[in-house]
């Protein structure tokens, strides 16, 4: 019985993440349109897109790795979601959040990228491989400030568990005020994580014909879109858990995640695209300095 309830809870979590993530992407498109003085698509446009892609009558693949690439992607989006706490101090959606810690999640988030990279590599499309190499290079870039921010938090409160960090923030106040430098470094790293402008070098449609996904169509693309939206929600929830003390109910969670989501979105709206080495150097510049300062701050305090 307990197992059944937990399974249902996990499925509910994933469904909520899917719905919310898709909605955020739709709002993103709408806001982008308004900024460009357009009417823009309705906010539910992404659901329609996903439904259409999944109901395509045919879809071709170039081999088993490409066929399974969405499954790999889903491991890191759904799996990570299950291992982080969604709401604080409630029996809702606890999932597996006591069975993994921050360092584990850091690595678990990468599995999907690797599977996706291999799937895209198998298509034989040179654009896909170029996009992958850009994406991996960029990942090396933004992981440095991101890890620095996380390590700063871990050593400030002597825990690597997300649930513990949330509980501690209940007593001491939000970490984004307790260690603002770490929060800034993490936010700058988040710009790279979301891959909006100016860091959309992976799928740059103008140069690479949408990069890694250029050979994915139909159900593959639909599943990858869904995975992307779940992953977006996962990352936002992780940020809320880490820096805003988690949310006590779903409405607060939505408000907080959306506020965070506005940052990469609005930054992207007014930015052109970096070259890859510029992006890497960007992350190894001020974000890394901020991360180092955060480390020093948390050691000193």
């Amino acid at each position: 019985m307990d197992f059944l309830i937990k399974t249902l809870g996990a499925i509910a979590t994933i469904i909520v993440a899917f719905i919310v993530g898709m909605l955020y992407m739709g709002i993103n498109r709408k806001i982008t349109a308004r900024v460009q003085n357009r009417v823009g698509p309705p906010v539910w446009q992404n659901y329609i897109d996903a439904l259409k892609l999944v109901s395509k009558k045919t879809s071709v693949h170039h081999g088993v790795m490409q066929h399974l690439a969405p499954a790999f992607l889903m491991i890191s989006s759904m799996g990570t979601l299950l291992f982080i706490p969604i709401l604080r101090g409630q029996s809702w959606f606890p999932n597996l959040s006591y069975h993994g810690d921050l360092i584990f999640i850091l690595y678990f988030m990468v599995l999907g990228s690797l599977g996706m990279a291999l799937g895209a590599g198998q298509t034989g499309n040179p654009n896909a491989a170029i996009g992958i190499t850009r994406g991996l290079s960029q990942m090396v870039g933004f992981e440095i400030p991101w890890v620095m921010a996380l390590v700063a938090m871990m050593i400030q409160y002597h825990t690597t568990s997300i649930s513990d960090l949330m509980a501690i923030q209940q007593q001491h106040g939000w970490l984004m005020f307790q260690n603002p430098l770490a929060f800034l470094a993490a936010i700058l790293a988040m710009l790279g994580m979301f891959r909006y402008s100016p860091f959309d070098i992976v799928g740059a449609p103008a140069e690479l014909a949408s990069g890694p996904i250029s050979e994915f169509g139909g159900k593959y693309l639909g599943l990858m879109m869904s995975s992307g939206s779940i992953f977006a929600f996962t990352k936002l929830t992780l940020y809320v858990d880490l820096f805003m003390g988690g949310a006590s109910n779903i409405v607060v969670l939505l408000i907080e995640t959306f506020t965070l989501y506005l940052i990469p979105m609005l930054y992207g709206l007014v930015s052109p695209r970096y070259r890859t080495e510029q992006a890497i150097r960007y992350f190894w510049g001020w974000p890394t300095v901020l991360g180092l300062a955060a480390l020093v701050y948390s050691v000193v305090i």
């Binding site: 499954a71 491991i75 799996g79 584990f104 690595y107 298509t123 034989g124 040179p126 050593i155």
Partner: protein, 616 residues
């Protein structure tokens, strides 16, 4: 006559017999070789108990051997890999010249390694160390003239290590009048402080050569990539671990007693981390699969060295865990590259392409090794890395953890590069007729790949042995404190449940795979030539796989770092030495009168010095 005699006897006898069996026929030699390994390993694992002791008397020198849990841990790596790589070796080496010699050295190096982990005194340790070094040197130069220079580099560095080790042994004897390792660890604190630090540093130098620590790693990439791959699996997987074994002993018995102000731990830990970082960066830009993996080995050994040098309980667990796991996945990776070399004829990453449909099982094992190498859950590679991070963070090495993390993340780059270049990309007519490797080569690889998954869910089966080894070294029992069968704990009591991770991964993967296969009939396989590239279609002789300048943007981003390459300094040093010796040659100008002047000068100087010395 106990199991130690028997194991070593079988290995040594088997080595000699294999050499002579080569004169009879190839089949006999192969049978002799593989039965030696299998029988030795089987007897060892069935009969060995951790407190067996044996004594050899060789013409006045007494060699005392024994087994403990630490040795047992390393013998598992050695013999386990030896069996798998041995079977792999048979089809891989088929048809090459001089195989009796190769197999003899192969067995001798196993013999040497087994001797090292069983040595209880420094003399036997040194003897077996030299046996291991020389047999591996002979295999490195096995591939012929091209390998000679590489072999010289290897043997020069090994000699450097051996001399410093020998010097340390002499110093130990001069102080303690005993070669025994037990006496050394007991009497180390009684030595003068200058002796302590010198001995420790000399021994660390000796072992760091084998463990390929920067700046002593220069031999490793060439030597690893030039030996036959069936041996490199052992070379990188097991033989380099002998350096780790030595470092573990040094750090546990000696460095922990040194005064804090020597910074030995910190220096070595930093050297290990820098090794990891720099070797990873070099690995990213290699265009040869063997070279790439060789640099990757150096990088992985860097993590292990860091873990050993930090020396807390959990970091030691992490280092030993990483040793075992690195032995598994790197041996597997070298076997994969060997299989590709045998079937496709090259290991050049710019030439190879699209082998996944030709060699699916090889790809499977390469994929599993890659995930383990990158330290991604749910495979076992991440258990060691997780513990290493936890130990570094809880121990206060914050900058170190960033460096290690950078190396680990940058590791994804070369992992993707090697997998993509060999197995993915567009198929090439040149590799049309490539077949899957023979079963004897595939089965060991798949076994290791499956083991990586199994231990990922149940790391306790490995940690149990590590725990026993740590207890021998004087650490408290770690089971229940740091780990349980399927759970890992860190210093602050946070945990990771490996089995749940594995189950979640499998559940999600299988669910989505079912969704994908449910609509299977609307999917269709198309060849890799059928790509959407502005409506253009590659012709038969055109291949659009992305090969050259693979990580050019990354290279541009880190170009300031790449300017410094250690081998450049060694080369400059070598050039300088050559010039120096060229100059000294002029002293011997062949004129008898000049020699006479030299002799007289020398005698005068000697007299002056002797006068001073003996009058004081």
């Amino acid at each position: 006559m106990n199991i130690i005699h028997i194991t070593l006897g079988i290995l040594l006898g088997g080595a000699i017999l294999t050499y002579f069996a080569n004169k009879i026929s190839g089949v006999v030699r192969d049978l002799m070789f593989i039965s030696t390994i299998v029988v030795a390993a089987a007897l060892f694992f069935i009969k060995m108990t951790p407190d067996t002791v044996a004594v050899f008397n060789l013409g006045g020198i007494t060699l005392s051997l024994g087994m403990n849990h630490l040795g047992l841990l390393f013998s598992i790596i050695i013999l386990g890999l030896a069996v798998l790589a041995g079977f792999y070796s048979l089809p891989y080496m088929k048809g090459k010249d001089n195989l009796g010699f190769f197999y003899m050295n192969y067995l001798l190096s196993i013999f040497g390694m087994m001797g090292i982990v069983m040595s209880k005194d420094l003399v036997s340790f040194f003897i077996f160390w030299e046996i291991m070094t020389w047999s591996s040197y002979l295999i490195v130069v096995y591939n012929g003239n091209k390998a000679n220079k590489i072999g010289i580099k290897y043997i020069l560095f090994s000699a450097l290590g051996a001399y410093s080790m020998l010097m340390a042994i002499v110093m130990v004897y001069s102080q303690l009048h005993s070669f025994s390792i037990a006496d050394l660890s007991a009497g180390f604190t009684t030595m003068p402080a200058s002796y302590q630090i010198t001995i420790a540093l000399l021994l660390i130098t000796g072992f760091a050569v084998k463990a390929a620590m920067m700046p002593l790693h220069v031999w490793a990439p060439d030597a690893y990539s030039n030996a036959p791959m069936s041996y490199t699996a052992m070379f990188s997987g097991a033989l380099s671990k002998m350096g780790v074994y030595g470092l573990v002993i040094v750090f546990v018995t000696m460095v922990s007693h040194l005064p804090q102000n020597f910074w030995v731990r910190e220096t070595i830990a930093w050297l290990g981390a820098i090794t990891a970082g720099m070797a990873t960066i070099y690995a990213i830009f290699q265009d040869d699969a063997k070279k790439l993996l060789a640099y990757s080995s150096v990088a992985q050994l860097g993590y292990i060295i860091t873990g050993v040098a930090i020396g807390t309980e959990i970091s030691m667990i992490a280092a030993l865990m990483l040793s075992i796991v690195h032995g598994m996945f790197k041996a597997n990776f070298f076997m994969v590259v060997g299989a590709v070399e045998r079937q496709a004829g090259t290991t050049d990453l710019t030439v190879l392409t699209g082998l996944i449909r030709k060699m699916p099982w090889t790809f499977f094992s390469a994929l599993m090794s890659a995930i383990a190498l990158a330290g991604i859950p749910p495979l076992v590679g991440y258990v060691g890395k997780w513990m290493l991070y936890e130990s570094l963070i809880s121990n206060g090495n914050y900058i170190l953890v960033i460096v290690i993390f950078f190396a680990s993340t940058a590791g994804f780059l070369y992992v993707f590069k090697i997998l993509y270049s060999i197995f993915l990309g567009q198929e090439e007519p040149e590799f049309e007729n490539v077949k899957e490797a023979p079963a004897l080569m595939v089965i060991p690889m798949v076994i290791i790949a499956l083991l990586l998954g199994f231990f990922g869910a149940f790391p306790g089966y490995l940690l149990k042995y590590i725990d026993n080894a740590l207890v021998v070294m004087g650490y408290p029992v770690s089971q229940g404190k740091w780990w349980e069968m399927t759970t890992l704990f860190n210093a602050w009591g946070n945990k990771v449940s490996t089995d749940l991770i594995m189950y979640t991964t499998i559940t999600v993967f299988v669910t989505i795979a079912i969704v994908l296969f449910y609509r299977w009939k609307n999917g269709r396989y198309v060849s890799t030539k059928d790509i959407s590239l502005s409506g253009e279609m590659p012709k038969e002789d055109e291949n659009y796989s992305f090969k050259l300048d693979f990580y050019k943007p990354f290279e541009r981003a880190i170009s300031p770092l790449l300017r410094y390459k250690i081998s450049k300094y060694y080369n400059e040093f070598a050039d300088g030495m050559e010039a120096f010796f060229d100059w000294t040659r002029r002293i011997y100008n062949g004129n008898a009168q000049t020699y006479a002047i030299y002799v007289i000068t020398f005698l005068v100087i000697l007299l002056l010095i002797a006068n001073n010395i003996f009058t004081v």
